[in-house]
């Protein structure tokens, strides 16, 4: 059988961002894949060296336009670790609240994109409509829909008082009502199952060996989630990772569906149990030494490493985003699949290329 190699992307209807997959096919079957990135590198690690460390919070937040809050949180935790800063308990709970809202709206965006990739337009619109409620809560509580800028080194910048909390609970109830109607469709719809079940298999052992993270790893049977480390207030709120054993695109969908429920529960819990007290402490001095942290982003583990030298500027800031770790999964998932399944399988790792390239 003759082989043909051709580009899939960087511009493709199913890819919201630019990545190219060089596919080699025998007839309609994919036999080889080479991912090509480099279309949207922004030099964020270089820029971070030139900024005073305090300003990097706002730079890191711009690594991603979806989970921006978690990028800021990770950087803040990194510097807090370097400088031995104790964050007030109230700020830790608020960080969990905003993190979980970020996870919900990221997963809702992804489920919508999956529906769109399958041609299920009404589900796509329902998902994104429900997501708007979460964005409204983010805007109401932080002042911004996308780049919230509510996390700072030493705590958070915004508080949620009793009156605002009541409005937030009403909106979360409204979201839950909409989501409860959407969720069974995503899990049971015949077309969704037909297009995702048994597609893009990532065997359990290979997922671990490749260093895969997040829902992609959990859908291959691993109970791995950085929230188990207990950062922010996760240790007090109690948490068990969502795990599926299917190893296919359907399992990855189910993990995200179940995580929307779990995140909603955590958001309610965090807001219901907000401790009294300050929301931030003052930061004095400059970072010195080395630190590394992991935070569970919607797409998986976000890893950051920093080295400070006692000056306002970091010597090195390294950011490893979850999609960067998950791209090698495509080298296992795609060979052997039908060409028509490539868009959905690629989407199933929830690729965020802006994050990946920084």
């Amino acid at each position: 059988m003759p082989r043909i190699t051709f580009p899939f992307g960087p511009q493709h209807p199913v890819l919201p961002e630019a990545i190219q997959l060089q596919l080699t096919c025998e007839d309609e079957k994919v036999v080889e894949v080479t991912p090509v990135i480099g279309y949207m590198h922004r030099g964020i690690e270089k820029a971070a060296e030139g900024n005073p460390f305090v300003n990097n919070v706002f730079l890191c937040e711009r690594v991603c336009g979806i989970c921006s809050f978690m990028h800021a949180l990770t950087y803040c935790q990194l510097i807090e670790g370097l400088m031995n800063i104790n964050v007030p308990p109230r700020a830790k709970y608020l960080r969990v609240f905003w993190s979980e809202l970020s996870r919900i709206h990221s997963h809702m965006l992804w489920i919508g994109l999956l529906a769109d990739a399958l041609g299920f337009e009404s589900l796509f619109m329902q998902c994104w409509r429900a997501r708007e409620v979460i964005l409204d809560v983010l805007e109401m509580t932080t002042g911004q829909r996308v780049i919230q800028s509510s996390c700072v080194i030493g705590g958070v910048r915004r508080n949620i008082d009793g009156e605002l909390a009541k409005t937030v609970f009403n909106l979360l109830d409204e979201f839950k009502k909409q989501w409860d109607a959407i969720s069974p469709v995503v899990q049971k719809d015949y077309t969704i199952r037909a297009r995702t079940e048994g597609k893009g298999i990532l065997p359990k052992e290979q997922a671990w060996e490749l260093g895969i993270v997040g829902p992609t790893l959990r859908a291959s049977g691993w109970a791995h989630d950085c929230r188990l480390l207990g950062y922010a207030a996760y240790g007090e709120l109690g948490f068990q990772p969502v795990v599926e054993e299917g190893c296919d695109s359907y399992a990855r969908t189910l993990v995200r569906v179940r995580e929307v429920d779990q995140s909603l529960e955590l958001a309610y819990k965090a807001l219901n149990n907000l401790p009294e007290g300050e929301i931030a402490v003052k930061v004095k001095g400059f970072p010195e030494g080395e630190a590394a942290v992991c935070v569970e982003q919607p797409r998986g583990e976000l890893f950051e490493y920093a080295r400070g030298n006692g000056t306002p500027h970091l010597e090195r800031l390294k950011i490893r985003t979850p999609t960067f770790a998950n791209i090698p999964a495509l080298l296992v998932m795609l060979p052997g699949s039908e060409l028509a399944d490539v868009p959905v399988i690629t989407l199933s790792i929830d690729p965020c290329i802006a994050c990946t390239e920084r």
Binding site: E45, E209, R316, P328, L331, E357
Partner: protein, 113 residues
């Protein structure tokens, strides 16, 4: 955080040892130390961060670990892009142009003398 300082010749062996022990590869970080590079391969073992650290002269060459962990290929290409560090036998070698385009500045994270 646990640090293991190793010689560059031990890298493949030590990585294999960690992988056989069910450690998970996270990423690799390169730091420009003036005369040499410090390269840190980060792993997770039983929820603990394990850093394999090695120092190499800027002219020296490191052997890729991507034959042991395919997932490390992107991290090693990134170090090549940003620092110009010499790494041989990377499973997929983008030759210093994975994230940087032909028009981009070369080795942007290398410190100026």
């Amino acid at each position: 955080m646990r640090d293991i300082n190793i010689d560059k010749t031990e890298l493949g062996f030590r990585v294999k040892e960690l992988i056989d022990d069910k450690a998970r590869f996270i990423t690799a970080t390169c730091i420009d130390e003036g005369e040499f590079f410090e390269v840190i391969y980060h792993f997770e073992k039983d929820s603990e961060l394990v850093n394999l650290r090695t120092r190499i002269n800027k002219e020296e060459e490191l052997t890729s670990i991507s034959s042991i962990i395919l997932g490390a290929a992107l991290s090693e290409n990134e170090m090549k892009d940003f620092f110009g560090i010499k790494i041989k036998d990377i499973a997929i070698d983008f030759k210093g142009r994975m994230l940087l385009s032909e028009e981009s500045p070369v080795t942007p994270l290398l410190k100026l003398k």
